[in-house]
C-alpha cells in the first residue's frame, strides 16, 4: 500500500515513509482486538476518511480505520502501532479547519466516537468529566438542568467532539468574554505513544503542581498523546442578554467602536464583524435585509446574571455605536429578532462558500486594536492578487476569518491564492498577531510556524514532540510539517 503514497506528500511533510506499512497480519490483529465490525479497510471507507472540513488540502486514504470501545483497546492499538511504526491519526467528527485529521501519511485512523460518555457532572465544584467522543452540545444539554454551561461554542458545536475541540483548542463567538477551550480544560487522561496512561490537572481551581501538562496536551492536535478523558470547568448560565446589529459606512468608525466599548469596561459576550464583501454575499444569499452598501456591520451581545447590569452595559454599547457614527442600529426586541441577527453572522461562511467552488478560510488573529488595520491590509491583498476575499469574524478578540473565494481547478488563480495567504499571515504577525486564533495549525499552516516562533521556538516544540513521541507515530506531519 505504501507505494501508492504520492511523492508530494513525502515532500510536503518531510515524513520518512520507508519501511512503513499496514499488512494483513496487522489488520487481523486489529480485528481480533476490536471485532471485525470496528475495523474498516475497504477502499470506499478509506476514501470517506481521507479528508476533513478543510478546503484546498490534499486528500489521502488511511490504511485502516478503527473504532475502539474503551481505553484498554486504545493502549493495545498504540502498542501495536509503536512496534510497527505506523502513524495513528486520532479523529473525532473530522470537522476541523486546519487539515488536522487528514491521514497525510496514511496509517491508522483512530475514531473516538464510541468513547462518548458523560462520566460526571459535579454541580458543587462546577466541573464535568467526559470522554473525548462526546459531541460538545450534549455536554451543554446535560449541564443545563444544573443552570450551568460549557462556554466554548465553535460553529460546529452540535457535531464536533470534546476530544477534537480540546485537541484543536477551538474558540467560538463568545471568546472575548468567556475565552476559548483551553480556559476550561482542568484535567486530562492521556495515553502516551508508548502506551502509558497519565493523568494531568484535576478538579481544583488552584493547581500548580508540576508542569502544566493539561495546557500542553490541549491544542496539541493529537501529536503528543491520545486524550481519553477530559475534566472541564462549567460556569453559571447567564440569565439575561441583549443583542444588536450596528451598521457602519466606514471601517475606521467600526474599529474605533470596538476599541471604545472595551475601554469603557464593557466586555460583550459577542462582538462580531462582517466586511462589505461578506455583507453583500450574505444579503444575496439569505435576504435578511442587510444594507449592501455598508462598509461593516457589528453584531453585539452583552449578557450576565443581573438584569440591571446587562441593560446598563447595553446602553453604553448603544451610545458608543451612535457616537462613533453608526448609520443604523437594530436592537433585538425578542428571541426571534436575536436569532435573525445571529442568522446573518451564521450565514457568513455558507454564503461566501456559494460564490465559488473553493473556499479558503483562514483564522489569522491580531490584537483587537489592530482590527481596522488588518481589514484594510486584507482589502489591499485582495486587490493586489485580484482575488475575492470576504472577511468576517470575532472582532472583539481580534480573530478574523479572511475567506478567499476561488476555484481549486484554476491553477493560475490558486497560485495567487497561496501567495495571498502567505501575505495574510505575514501581515497578521507584523501586527503582533498569530497564525491561528482557533483552528489550529494542522498541515494548513505548518509551513508558517517559523515565521511566528523562529527556528529556535519551533525547535523547542520539536524537542517536546521527540521526547514524548520519539518515533513520531502520533498524527505525524501536523504542526511542523517535516519531522
Amino acid at each position: 500500500m505504501r507505494e501508492t503514497l504520492p511523492a508530494f506528500v513525502a515532500v510536503y511533510t518531510g515524513y520518512n515513509i520507508g519501511g512503513l506499512y499496514v499488512d494483513k497480519n496487522i489488520i487481523s490483529t486489529l480485528m481480533n482486538l476490536l471485532g471485525r465490525e470496528n475495523v474498516l479497510t475497504s477502499k470506499e471507507d478509506m476514501i470517506t476518511y481521507s479528508f476533513d472540513a478543510t478546503a484546498d488540502m490534499p486528500s489521502e486514504n488511511p490504511d485502516v480505520v478503527v473504532t475502539p470501545d474503551n481505553k484498554e483497546q486504545i493502549v493495545e492499538i498504540v502498542k501495536l502501532a509503536n512496534e510497527k511504526k505506523i502513524p495513528i491519526i486520532t479523529r473525532g467528527s473530522g470537522t476541523n479547519l486546519s487539515g488536522g485529521t487528514i491521514p497525510i501519511n496514511k496509517g491508522i485512523v483512530l475514531s473516538m466516537l464510541k468513547l462518548n460518555k458523560i462520566l460526571e457532572i459535579d454541580a458543587e465544584n462546577m466541573t464535568a468529566r467526559v470522554e473525548p467522543g462526546l459531541v460538545i452540545q450534549k455536554l451543554n444539554d446535560a449541564a443545563a438542568p444544573y443552570g450551568l454551561i460549557y462556554p466554548p461554542d465553535p460553529g460546529t458545536v452540535t457535531t464536533a467532539t470534546m476530544g477534537g475541540s480540546v485537541s484543536e483548542c477551538s474558540g467560538g463567538l463568545r471568546g472575548l468574554k468567556y475565552g476559548v477551550t483551553k480556559d476550561y480544560v482542568m484535567g486530562l487522561e492521556v495515553i502516551m505513544a508508548n502506551g502509558d496512561i497519565i493523568r494531568t490537572g484535576g478538579k481544583t481551581v488552584k493547581n500548580v503542581s508540576g508542569y502544566d501538562l493539561t495546557k500542553l496536551f490541549t491544542g496539541a492536535e493529537g501529536t503528543l498523546g491520545i486524550i481519553t478523558q477530559i475534566t472541564v470547568k462549567l460556569i453559571p448560565a447567564p440569565q439575561y442578554r441583549r443583542s444588536m446589529l450596528a451598521i457602519f459606512d466606514n471601517l475606521d468608525k467600526a474599529g474605533k467602536t470596538i476599541a471604545e466599548i472595551i475601554s469603557n469596561k464593557v466586555i460583550p459576550a459577542t462582538l462580531e464583524i462582517m466586511d462589505n464583501v461578506t455583507i453583500r454575499t450574505v444579503e444575496n444569499y439569505a435576504k435578511i435585509g442587510l444594507p449592501i452598501d455598508a462598509e461593516a456591520v457589528l453584531i453585539l451581545e452583552v449578557d450576565g446574571g443581573i438584569e440591571q447590569v446587562v441593560l446598563q452595559e447595553f446602553e453604553i454599547v448603544k451610545k458608543i455605536c451612535k457616537e462613533n457614527g453608526a448609520v443604523d442600529i437594530k436592537l433585538a426586541q425578542s428571541d426571534a429578532e436575536r436569532d435573525s441577527i445571529f442568522a446573518a453572522r451564521r450565514a457568513a461562511l455558507p454564503a461566501l462558500a456559494q460564490v465559488k467552488p473553493t473556499t479558503v478560510l483562514e483564522d489569522a488573529t491580531v490584537p483587537r486594536s489592530k482590527i481596522p488595520e488588518m481589514l484594510k491590509a486584507l482589502k489591499k491583498i485582495a486587490e493586489k492578487y485580484n482575488l475575492q476575499i470576504g472577511t468576517f469574524g470575532h472582532a472583539g478578540d481580534g480573530n478574523l476569518h479572511p475567506t478567499i473565494l476561488t476555484d481549486e481547478s484554476n491553477k493560475e488563480e490558486m497560485e495567487r491564492v497561496h501567495k495571498a495567504v502567505d501575505e495574510i499571515f505575514k501581515v497578521a504577525l507584523e501586527l503582533g498577531g498569530t497564525l491561528s486564533g482557533e483552528h489550529g495549525i494542522g498541515i494548513a499552516k505548518a509551513k508558517f510556524m517559523e515565521w511566528e516562533f523562529g527556528k529556535e521556538g519551533v525547535a523547542v516544540m520539536k524537542k517536546i514532540k521527540d521526547a514524548l513521541d520519539p518515533d513520531s507515530i502520533l498524527n505525524p506531519g501536523k504542526i511542523f510539517g517535516g519531522n
Partner: protein, 433 residues
C-alpha cells in the same frame, strides 16, 4: 440528458458541499453507524471519487449509496443548501446503468411497471396471504410464516380483500360541486390502508369537491427511482403524465408525501429533457396538493362542521410530506381544530421513522434501530393514538410498535378528520330528531 442519465449533472450540487460535516447532526443512519461513509459528506466524497476516476462502480460504492433514507434531513440542515437526495438518486441511477439491476428488483419493478400484473399479483396475494402470514393478535398485521426475503420478526400489514380503486367509482359526484379534483391513491392506500383512502374521498365529497379516481393510475414510481431504475421510472412518469393530463381537474390530491413529491418534483427531473412531457409534467406538478394542505389552504377549515373525537393523539411528520412537500402545519391545524381531541407534540416529530419505503425491506435491522428513537418519542408523548400522513410510515410504525411493545392505533390525518365530520353529522341528526 437528465441527472438520472448522467452523474455530471449533479456536479454543481457536489461543488456546493464544503464538507463541514453539519449533516452528521441530523442523519438518522450516521447517528446509528457513526461512520463517515454513512453520512452525506462521505457519500458526496465517494461520488466525487467516481467522477474523478479514483473509484470504480464497485459493490462497495453501491452498498454505501444504498445507505440513505432520502429523508432530506441533511438537505434541511446543510448551510450550503446541497440537495443531497438528488445526488444520491442520480448516483443510484448511475450505478444501475453501470452495474445493472439486481434480478429480483428487476422482476419486482417490471411488475410495478405493468399495473395490470401488479394489481393481479396483489389481488391474488390478498386471497393467499393467510398461507404465508400468521395474524398478529393485537395489531392489524401479520408475521411472515416463512422467511421469503422478509425478516421473520417483521409485521406486515394485510392486503385488503379488494383494492380501493375497485371499490370506488371512477367519478365520485358531489352534491354542489365547487371544484374538481383527481385523487392519486398511491399503492399503500389502494392495497392496504383502504379506510384512509376512503376517508380522503369522503372528506373531499363533504367539501363539495367532485373526485376523479382514474382507474389506470399505478405506482408513482418512488421505490423505483429510489433503487435507481430510472428507465422504468421514466416510463411510469410518462404514463402518469398521459393519464392526468387528460383530466379536466383543478387539483390532483395526494395523501402520501412520497407520491406527492414524486409527482411535483421527480417527474420534472425525470422528464427534464423531453420538452413535450416536461411542460405537461409542470402543469401536473402545479396541481398537486396534499389532502391536509388542500383542506386547510384551499377549502378552509370550517370548525362548525367538526364533531368531537375524544382522543389523545401525537403526530409523526413523514419526511417527504414535511421536507418534500413542505406540509407541516396543516395536519396539526386540522388535529388541533377538532373538539375533544388532545394534541400532544412528540419530541423530534420530524425525525425519520426509519421506514423510508423499501429501505426497511433491504436494511431491516438498521431501519428498526432508527425506529427506536421514534418509538421512544411516541412512548414519551403518552398519547392514545399516533397520527401521520403517509402509508409507508404507518407500515413502519406498526412494525416498530410491535418490536418495541407499544400497541397504539394509527391513523392517517384524514381519517381523524372524516371521523370528526361523521360524528358531527350524527349529532346533528340526533338533535334534529
Amino acid at each position: 440528458m437528465t441527472m438520472y442519465d448522467s452523474l455530471d449533472k449533479v456536479k454543481a450540487e457536489l461543488a456546493k458541499c464544503m464538507k463541514c460535516g453539519n449533516c452528521q447532526e441530523v442523519c438518522p443512519i450516521y447517528l446509528e453507524e457513526q461512520k463517515e461513509g454513512t453520512v452525506a459528506r462521505g457519500k458526496i466524497k465517494l461520488v466525487e471519487a467516481v467522477l474523478k476516476g479514483d473509484l470504480e462502480y464497485t459493490d462497495g460504492f453501491a452498498d454505501k449509496l444504498a445507505l440513505c433514507l432520502t429523508c432530506k434531513a441533511c438537505n434541511a440542515k446543510c448551510p450550503c443548501g446541497v440537495k443531497v437526495d438528488e445526488v444520491i438518486l442520480a448516483a443510484r441511477s448511475s450505478i444501475v446503468k453501470n452495474k445493472g439491476l439486481h434480478p429480483l428488483k428487476k422482476f419486482i419493478f417490471g411488475t410495478l411497471k405493468r399495473p395490470g400484473l401488479f394489481n393481479f399479483g396483489l389481488k391474488t396475494g390478498s386471497v393467499f396471504q393467510g398461507l404465508v402470514f400468521k395474524k398478529h393478535k393485537a395489531l392489524n398485521g401479520a408475521y411472515p410464516r416463512f422467511p421469503f426475503g422478509l425478516d421473520l420478526r417483521r409485521i406486515v400489514p394485510p392486503l385488503a380483500p379488494s383494492p380501493l380503486r375497485d371499490q370506488l367509482p371512477e367519478i365520485v359526484k358531489a352534491d354542489k360541486p365547487v371544484k374538481r379534483a383527481a385523487f392519486f391513491t398511491g399503492c399503500t392506500m389502494n392495497y392496504i390502508y383502504i379506510d384512509a383512502g376512503k376517508a380522503v374521498v369522503d372528506v373531499l365529497k363533504r367539501n363539495n369537491i367532485e373526485v376523479i379516481i382514474p382507474k389506470d393510475q399505478h405506482c408513482c414510481s418512488m421505490p423505483i427511482i429510489a433503487h435507481g431504475d430510472s428507465i422504468t421510472a421514466k416510463e411510469m412518469a410518462k404514463s402518469h403524465v398521459d393519464i392526468f393530463s387528460k383530466l379536466d381537474v383543478d387539483f390532483i390530491i395526494t395523501a402520501c408525501g412520497s407520491c406527492g413529491t414524486t409527482f411535483n418534483k421527480h417527474y420534472l427531473e425525470l422528464l427534464e429533457d423531453n420538452q413535450e412531457y416536461y411542460l405537461k409534467a409542470q402543469t401536473i406538478a402545479s396541481k398537486i396538493m396534499d389532502i391536509s394542505d388542500f383542506i386547510v389552504k384551499e377549502i378552509g377549515l370550517d370548525k362548525s362542521k367538526l364533531g368531537p373525537v375524544n382522543l389523545k393523539v401525537t403526530y409523526h411528520d413523514p419526511c417527504h410530506l414535511n421536507r418534500g412537500m413542505g406540509v407541516k402545519d396543516s395536519p396539526r391545524e386540522i388535529l388541533k381544530a377538532i373538539p375533544g381531541l388532545e394534541f400532544i407534540e412528540m419530541q423530534n416529530a420530524d425525525r425519520c421513522c426509519g421506514g423510508a419505503g423499501s429501505f426497511s425491506l433491504t436494511h431491516y435491522d438498521l431501519a428498526m434501530a432508527i425506529h427506536k428513537h421514534k418509538a421512544d418519542a411516541i412512548n414519551a408523548a403518552k398519547a392514545d393514538a399516533v397520527v401521520t400522513g403517509c402509508g409507508s410510515c404507518i407500515m413502519q410504525l406498526s412494525d416498530g410498535m410491535n418490536r418495541y411493545n407499544l400497541n397504539l392505533p394509527m391513523y392517517h390525518t384524514v381519517e381523524i378528520l372524516a371521523k370528526s365530520y361523521a360524528v358531527k353529522d350524527q349529532l346533528d341528526k340526533t338533535t334534529a330528531n
